[in-house]
């Protein structure tokens, strides 16, 4: 996962140094994921608003019935008034409070962001404060709601050139994230935040636990694979981690292909049927060699590198 991300998104990686002096890479979320997150959130808000309205209408209907039974107009009128006030408050809260509520939580992400695996963070590496979250969400109006309404108006053509000019002007805000390296929205800019990937990886099995990895004989063929210095010197860290991925995925075709490639490279005669045992043994011994090099300060990035 991180190897993949490193390949495709090295441009989006930013080094973050913790107060302990440990640097780790934050990956700026890509714009597609953010758009998807926004759409999910808007759908959720829409559903909440419609549901609240329906429930209030249902309650209002009940009150109206009650009113007919009791024959009193006054109390029912007040109750209906109260419901209307609740409706106004709820709509205001959904529109403005939804993003605040979720982004202030410990995950720093709305449900949409969580589903797309992203979150907000402070750009300078400090704490994410309430002020930042408020600031970045207050600008949603000009980034989202105004451009949409202006676009709808401008399409009708009633407002003429001025309407189109306004629509273009507002589109600049809506498309702001496309014009800068960190994909900042206008809101991110004034709040000092950004949106980053929030990776969630499971701890995988250690690789050197299996029988063959420890130099034992393969159950299938009874061979204990031992590789010489020259045979292990053929590859570097990049190939090692590719091999790790192949072993973890465990797809037979991939293993056969890699097995063949390695055998060709180190001048062995590729057999068939014992690929996994061969690859596990080769992986473990290659890693042992490279890691002992690391401890001495010698690293070999890939098969082209010397050492």
């Amino acid at each position: 996962m991180s190897a993949l991300a490193a390949g495709s998104g090295a441009r989006r990686q930013r080094l973050m140094v913790t107060p302990e002096g440990i640097g780790f890479n934050l990956v700026v979320a890509n714009r597609g994921a953010r758009l998807a997150a926004l759409l999910i959130d808007l759908v959720i808000i829409g559903v909440l608003e419609v549901a609240t309205t329906l429930i209030l209408v249902y309650i209002a209907g009940g009150i109206d019935n009650l009113d007919h039974l009791a024959g009193r107009k006054d109390t029912a009128g007040q109750a209906l008034q109260f419901l209307t006030i609740v409706w106004f408050a709820a709509m205001f809260l959904f529109r403005n409070g939804y993003f605040l509520f979720f982004e202030l939580g410990p995950r720093g992400a709305t449900p949409g962001k969580r589903m797309t695996g992203i979150r907000i963070a402070s750009r300078d590496g400090g704490r994410l404060t309430a002020e930042m979250v408020v600031a970045r969400n207050l600008l949603r109006d000009i980034e989202l709601f105004l451009p949409i309404s202006f676009l709808l108006v401008a399409k009708g053509g009633d407002t003429g050139a001025a309407g189109i000019a306004a629509a273009v002007w507002f589109l600049i805000f809506a498309l702001f994230p496309c014009f800068n390296r960190d994909s900042l929205r206008a809101g991110d800019l004034i709040a000092g935040t950004w949106v980053v990937e929030a990776p969630r990886t499971k701890l995988q099995e250690a690789m050197s636990l299996s029988h063959t990895a420890q130099g034992g004989a393969s159950h299938a063929t009874g061979t204990a694979y031992r590789f010489g210095e020259n045979e292990l010197a053929a590859y570097g860290e990049y190939e090692l981690q590719t091999l790790e991925r192949v072993l973890r995925e465990g797809r037979l075709e991939a293993m056969v292909a890699v097995h063949e490639a390695i055998c060709r490279k180190i001048g062995w005669n590729p057999g068939a049927g014992d690929e996994r045992a061969f690859l596990e043994a080769y992986y473990t011994q290659l890693r042992a060699r490279l890691e002992s090099g690391m401890r001495l300060g010698v690293r070999k990035a890939d098969k082209w590198a010397g050492g």
Binding site: S2, I85, F92, N96, L128, A135, L139, Q204, G215
Partner: protein, 359 residues
């Protein structure tokens, strides 16, 4: 003898350690043994982080909360050791992600809502308002100018009234309306039942005004100019209506009617416009700091002010919905309106407590 051995070992929990030792011995690589010795800590941290992220703070035991910073540092040091000694890409990716998640929690916002509110009301808000004083002055000048322009436009040509005043207000309140008709919009008759739908109206006004002030703030991003235009447009309405009532000799009554909630509401709109302008100014003239830093600081200050603006608009809506109906004379209304103004001014400009000292 063998029986006794296992019995005692089981009693002291030695067997588990033995099994673990065996597993550690089993890994062929030194870096995997390093991992096996520590993965218990990693997984404990992951469990704590997962529970805290789910927001179930109550379900996280105290000892886990206390262990969080320690575990975080342990795992962070595991990560830096692993980076130098291990080539296991999956384990490195796991540790990176785990350290990042824990880092967000350890250095995340730790103030709860109550603590934040206390700091906000106890000095943070008024300090932010004072910090944008220059923008407040500009916005105030613009609002006064907007009112004057509205007045002048309508007095030169009453047709302007209909383009300045939204149709919802132009019911009885149109040019040419009689003294009595206009007076009736300000005061309700003794026997008249007038509280119907007024609180609904207040709720509507609140959400409308709040949206307008959020817009005024957001528009500040475009160098502040649209914020000012919005202020002019809104106060133009005020100027036009002021002219209308002035024509029938009802100026003071209108001011009284308006001031009950108007001092709070117009103040809130002033703050919103000024915060928008503050952000716009920090973009156009960042000063000695870098543009990004200047924008960031201005944005956070303005956001603090804006949070308060929403609160003020709630107060304004309540005053409008209730106080104005209960007080049916100009003197009483002016008293309420002016004392609200005095309270806000005193709170913002004389209430000085450094929020950092109290926090």
């Amino acid at each position: 003898m063998a029986f006794a051995d296992t019995g005692i070992a089981g009693l002291f929990g030695g067997r588990k350690a033995e099994v673990q030792d065996a597993a550690i011995a089993a890994a062929a690589l030194r870096s995997d043994r390093f991992r096996q010795e520590r993965e218990g800590d990693w997984q404990r941290l992951e469990a704590i982080v997962r529970r805290m992220e789910a927001g179930r703070m109550g379900k996280v035991p105290d000892e886990d909360l206390l262990a969080l910073p320690v575990l975080y540092r342990t795992v962070a040091s595991s990560l830096s050791v692993a980076r130098e000694t291990s080539l296991d890409a999956a384990t490195l990716a796991y540790l990176e992600a785990l350290v990042q998640r824990a880092w967000f929690l350890v250095y995340g916002p730790r103030t709860g809502f109550a603590a934040w509110l206390r700091r906000f009301l106890g000095g943070g808000w008024s300090a932010a308002v004072r910090a944008i004083w220059f923008d407040l002055l500009i916005a105030l000048a613009v609002m006064v100018a907007g009112t004057v322009v509205g007045w002048l436009l309508v007095s030169s040509d009453p047709d302007w009234y209909f383009s300045l005043v939204p149709s919802q207000f132009a019911d009885a309140r149109v040019p040419g309306a009689s003294h009595e008709a206009l007076k009736a919009t300000l005061f309700h008759q003794p026997g008249e039942h007038q509280e119907d739908a007024l609180s609904v109206f207040a709720a509507y006004l609140f959400s409308n005004n709040a949206q307008v002030s959020i817009l005024a703030f957001a528009l500040g991003f475009a160098f502040g100019i649209p914020s000012l235009l919005l202020l002019v447009q809104n106060t133009g309405t005020l100027g036009a209506m002021l002219w209308l009532y002035h024509g029938q000799g009802l100026t003071l009554d209108f001011v009284g009617w308006l001031s009950v909630h108007g001092t709070t509401e117009l103040f809130a709109i002033l703050l919103a416009g000024a915060s928008g302008l503050h952000v716009g100014r920090s973009i156009a003239f960042p000063g000695a700091k870098g543009t990004m830093q200047s924008i960031r600081e201005a944005g956070q200050r303005a956001a603090t002010v804006m949070t308060g603006v929403v609160l003020m608009l709630v107060v304004a809506a309540m005053l409008e919905g209730f106080a104005r109906q209960l007080i049916n004379n100009t003197e009483g209304r002016l008293t309420v309106g002016l004392s609200m103004l005095a309270i806000w001014l005193a709170y913002f400009f004389t209430f000085r407590r450094d929020p950092k000292v109290t926090a």
